[in-house]
Symmetry: C2
């Protein structure tokens, strides 16, 4: 790969290179990169705003994450938050802190992944900030979207007897990470080490190139389902269930044997001698949608192909409970990822 | 000062501590911190979005910048971009990357400065992200504001014969930085070193606690002035003049003897044997407003107390020119701050 030092272009030159050929796709994007601010117009809709900070050495490890995948994922995890409010993502801003070891080509790879995600989800890149950093790569993304005011789904709307639903399957991204870390350790110091990922493609893809569940939101709209509460599963199912219970002032009962788990996830957990249910409940980075619907929508929600009913909402005094396969009731605790405890 | 390790609170505990007692001031802030996204409603107005990444060791040095000032400045520089589009800032999101040497009390200080700026400018803190970092403090702020679509002022509207105006004075923040760096070097290794800042309060304040020129925007509105082009001066007057000329497809003539400079700035430059005009043209971090108005508004703009006419817009083939005191014409070059060239 050609190697061009970023200092040869400077900040404005780099931005020009990276944003070359970007055309705005959304009617609401009036003005993108190139002024003091981006200008948006959502008409009478509400604006959704979410932001994520991704740091090398904390959130990602470039020894096994390709820059293009990282760019894609960095965008998708923000879009996931917009969908989790029942909105449609429209714009992102991207700020980068770049240390000296990165070349123009590196950052172009990262940007290519970001632009791929933007294209796939119909989102415009409308601004950002680019700077040198002392060490490592810093990615800060803010996503904006729109939603009708009466269609917004907060965390606090879950009510007693509501059904608890989750899309896709859980724990795969976490097991993908375990696999990547194992292979990195196995390959440390060996020059021509080739990690063996055969038959593990799914869990790797879940870790390296997750998707936001736009399809689930679309399906709910076409079926006329509006959830009473919704979140995306980023820190882990346990953590998100507790958020919904706390915000809504309710409890929940979730059944272990209803938690959707892919067979690759199960095999990897077995191989690494890890508890599968713990991985599915606390692994995080699933970017699936966790939501609640009124009991009366049982039939409707059962029609959704990728959605599984995993339990129901209860009175607050019953707490948040996981019912195990042998009918034991275990209190749900957030063991999700915490950057401040290492 | 009490010292509480951040790991004792965890991410959610820290966020709760920092956002305690935040009440939303703007009608457009429907939902702030605590869900997947913030929810805003600007009615039929346009949304302005701007973002800035501030990195320890690149943009600030905590050996002489108090955390409270840093927080204040980090917010203000973003609000300045909203005013520079003729908008009103309404919300910010704040993402922080925090290394192990920072305690809960440190981050509370930083946040106190941010909240002070929010209060002063009537802005709501509606979201963010908080994470550990490997080294140093990372601050990423996104500001949102609103503006009537027909009142937006871009960079590209300057026309031949327009007047070039700038608010306040230039170069002071840069000379404040030079002073701080000199005193840091003088005090290095000396335990009880007391830097001497007497008579230098203005340039220090311009560096450590800049303000955004809301007052200038307000005054223009009340006088019925809508600039044809506008920017805030963050990288330096030269750099911003070139941006306006390039975006508008025009040239400009700016007169050295019209550039507003405070006497403290002049004294400091003398003392440090630095070129005063270079400092004023290229120092940056002034956060003043640079704007152009039609020639017909000469009388109106002359009424503005803190605004100085510094030149006029010309045909593009005449280029961007600084006319020196002895009538020499010097081409304006961007020597503004560039993080990638050190």
């Amino acid at each position: 790969m050609q190697e061009t030092e970023i200092s040869t272009l400077g900040e404005f030159g780099l931005i020009e290179r990276l944003t070359e050929g970007i055309t705005l796709q959304n009617k609401s994007s009036l003005c993108g990169v190139g002024d003091d601010c981006a200008v948006l117009n959502y008409g009478d809709k509400c604006t959704l705003v979410t932001t994520d900070l991704l740091l090398e050495g904390i959130h990602f490890d470039l020894t096994y994450v390709p820059l293009r995948h990282l760019g894609y994922k960095a965008v998708v995890v923000n879009l996931s938050d917009i969908y989790a409010m029942n909105g449609t993502p429209r714009q992102i801003t991207v700020s980068l802190g770049i240390s000296r070891r990165f070349t123009v080509e590196h950052i172009s790879e990262l940007y290519a992944g970001m632009r791929m995600a933007c294209e796939r989800y119909g989102v415009d890149l409308v601004g950002g900030d680019t700077s040198a950093s002392v060490t490592g790569l810093i990615i800060s993304i803010t996503a904006l979207g729109d939603v009708d005011r009466d269609k917004i789904v907060y965390r606090n709307g879950a009510r007693d007897t509501d059904l608890v639903c989750v899309s896709g399957d859980l724990g795969a991204a976490y097991m993908g990470l375990q696999l990547l870390e194992r292979e990195r350790e196995a390959g440390a110091g060996e020059k021509d080490f080739q990690p063996d990922f055969a038959g593990r493609e799914y869990i790797l893809e879940r870790q390296l190139k997750p998707e936001a569940r736009r399809d689930v939101i679309d399906e709910m709209r076409s079926l006329g389902i509006t959830p009473t509460a919704m979140m995306d599963v980023s820190d882990g199912l346990s953590s998100e269930l507790l958020h919904i219970c706390k915000a809504s002032g309710v409890g929940c009962r979730v059944f272990e044997d209803r938690i959707p788990i892919d067979y690759q996830t199960a095999i990897m957990a077995e191989e690494l001698n890890m508890n599968l249910v713990t991985a599915a409940m606390n692994g995080g980075e699933d970017y699936e949608l966790l939501f609640t619907v009124p009991l009366a929508q049982h039939e409707l929600v059962s029609q959704m192909k990728t959605v599984r009913l995993i339990g129901h909402i209860t009175k607050p005094e019953l707490g948040a409970v996981l019912v195990s396969r042998d009918d034991a009731e275990l209190p749900i605790r957030a063991q999700g990822w915490n950057a401040f405890q290492q």
